[in-house]
Symmetry: C2
Subunit: 346 residues, 2 copies
């Protein structure tokens, strides 16, 4: 792991404030449950897997804060804290999943346990949530890094890196693994308008890891690919349909079209949980439209007439025929996707 | 004409300060030659054709300021003012061209003319420079508007509009003509990173003209085209090679690839002077790389780590086979371009 989006030290939770990145790497202590809630709510902590992990540790923060004396009391604290944390971002699936897992664990514990022992058991569970995410990222990295040869250049879009997860990420995990294996790798990072996760977060974490990084505007990916500057594209995913059509951050689809035109392999890195085999194809994936102000402004500066109409889809769908393969925690999945996704992911 | 990038009123030159757009439509009086020089130098006035026209009027400003009494004296004022203005932006071809034209005119005038008469002759020449640009834009608009049917939607990139010329532009002139003809037209405007000419200038002038405008990030053009939201693409050009390969603002080429994939017509609007038949093909066009800070920040706000490498090509090249036709001041030019460009533009 090359980046720590949070730290758990001496029973204290510190979160890396991502809203201050890339200019300031500030770890903020979250002494109470409300601090954890606010960190999630205000996007200081973002990325679906990371939110889940931090919430699991948030339960520990609540236990220490409320200082429950008996197991029964502690179970009650956990239930209340869990409900509160889930309400921070009600649509993030991982958040609820991780909190419910902590609640289940608490339920399963013996009422006769000492408070110390009870806490240790809960802490173990939070560590397990973290370790499983790391293991998932690690497997994606291991499988993906086999595709990367020494001195290769990789283009990525948005941030599917350590900052969105437990520290390794999905799309960036193969890059980190390749570096561990002694390979020299260069990453071209699309800045990723409107919210600039590429410029702010991907560049930050790659430079922290000592990986050569070249920032480009999204509109420059075409030239980078045409000029043969990149050997492959690796992106993350928000949802993958049964036929392989992939929803990811807006701007992914044009990159896939350009890569296809110039025969540059285009990989999607994602854990098994991102595949939704109940969704048949891309057109069945609902695409969220976000606030027009994101497009009318740049980094808080108004850049367009206030009354101009805006179209601001948060995601686009990359047709499966543009995708070379999926890099998953269960291995590399190649076409035909309809058959192979069902086989690998059942 | 729906927008006036400058005004010449009662022998006073007012320029629309484009650095304040779109938030403020401020016409700044240029009382002296230095003011005109600074307006060009600091990009208050930009767009190659417009710079030339404003410089021609700048010569008139110099004549009034220095208040020459005889024709001989006035010729000297013009020579000196001309040299000074050209130095404002030494690489802009139109600037030098327009200033030299004013100098030639001055040379041709009878030394016996009264200063009033001399000034009137020079003013006529400046008006001619303006009118010829308007006529050129008008012809592009006339030919181009024939391609636009009622209720069509058009996608454009960057600003090849009135603000870059005498008020009508190249890529946007067909849109303005279509509106004049009573057609309802919607324009999707790419914001055009890194300098956001689409968000700042194209949206501004289209809204001023009462044309329905939808602003998108460059990365959203793929979705807009895929979803069938646009009927055609029209862009401007910086240089067009003999085979039709076209250099234009970075981000044009990916739009062309996407339009081609979805069979959306892709037009390039440009006057005859933009075609360079001595350049054989796109790869012979030198592509300027600009300052990394343009990509690392916007409007003074840093968005990326300061030490991240950047690739910042200002233009890209659209391969001729992706272009449906050229909309020129001499008519629509269709493929095969190698044959037809030579025939129309000789």
């Amino acid at each position: 792991v090359t980046i720590k989006p949070f730290e758990w030290k001496n029973r204290q939770l510190f979160i890396l404030d991502q809203t201050k990145l890339p200019h300031e790497s500030h770890y903020e202590l979250c002494p109470g449950l409300t601090d954890v809630f606010n960190a999630i709510k205000t996007l200081k902590v973002r990325g679906a897997p990371l939110i889940g992990i931090v919430a699991a540790y948030g339960i520990l923060v609540a236990l220490l804060e409320k200082n429950g004396k008996r197991a029964g009391e502690m179970k009650k604290i956990i239930t209340e804290a869990g409900k509160f944390l889930i309400s921070a971002r009600p649509t993030a699936v991982n958040l609820e999943w991780a909190v419910r897992r902590m609640m289940e664990k608490a339920k399963s514990l013996d009422k006769a346990l000492t408070s110390d022992r009870f806490f240790l058991e809960m802490e173990k569970e939070a560590v397990a949530v973290l370790r499983e995410d790391l293991a998932m990222s690690g497997r994606i990295g291991k499988f993906g890094s086999a595709l990367i040869k020494n001195r290769m250049s990789i283009l990525t879009h948005c941030n599917a890196g350590g900052l969105a997860t437990s520290g390794l990420g999905t799309a960036l995990s193969p890059v980190y693994h390749a570096k561990e294996q002694g390979k020299k790798v260069t990453v071209y990072a699309d800045e990723t308008r409107p919210l600039l996760q590429g410029a702010r977060l991907t560049c930050y974490e790659l430079l922290q890891a000592g990986i050569k990084t070249v920032l480009i505007c999204d509109s420059m990916a075409g030239t980078v690919i045409k000029q043969g500057k990149v050997d492959m594209v690796i992106v993350g995913a928000d949802r993958i349909a049964a036929n392989g059509d992939t929803a990811n951050k807006i701007g992914t689809f044009p990159v896939a079209v350009l890569a296809y035109r110039f025969k540059v392999p285009f990989y999607v890195a994602a854990p098994a949980s991102t595949f939704d085999l109940t969704t048949k194809e891309g057109k069945d994936i609902p695409i969220e439209e976000r606030d027009p102000s994101e497009v009318r402004m740049f980094a808080g500066i108004k850049t367009a007439p206030e009354n101009v109409d805006v179209f601001n889809p948060a995601f686009d769908v990359t047709d499966h025929e543009l995708i070379t393969a999926f890099i998953t925690d269960r291995g590399i999945i190649k076409p035909p996707f309809k058959v192979n996704l069902a086989r690998y992911l059942k």
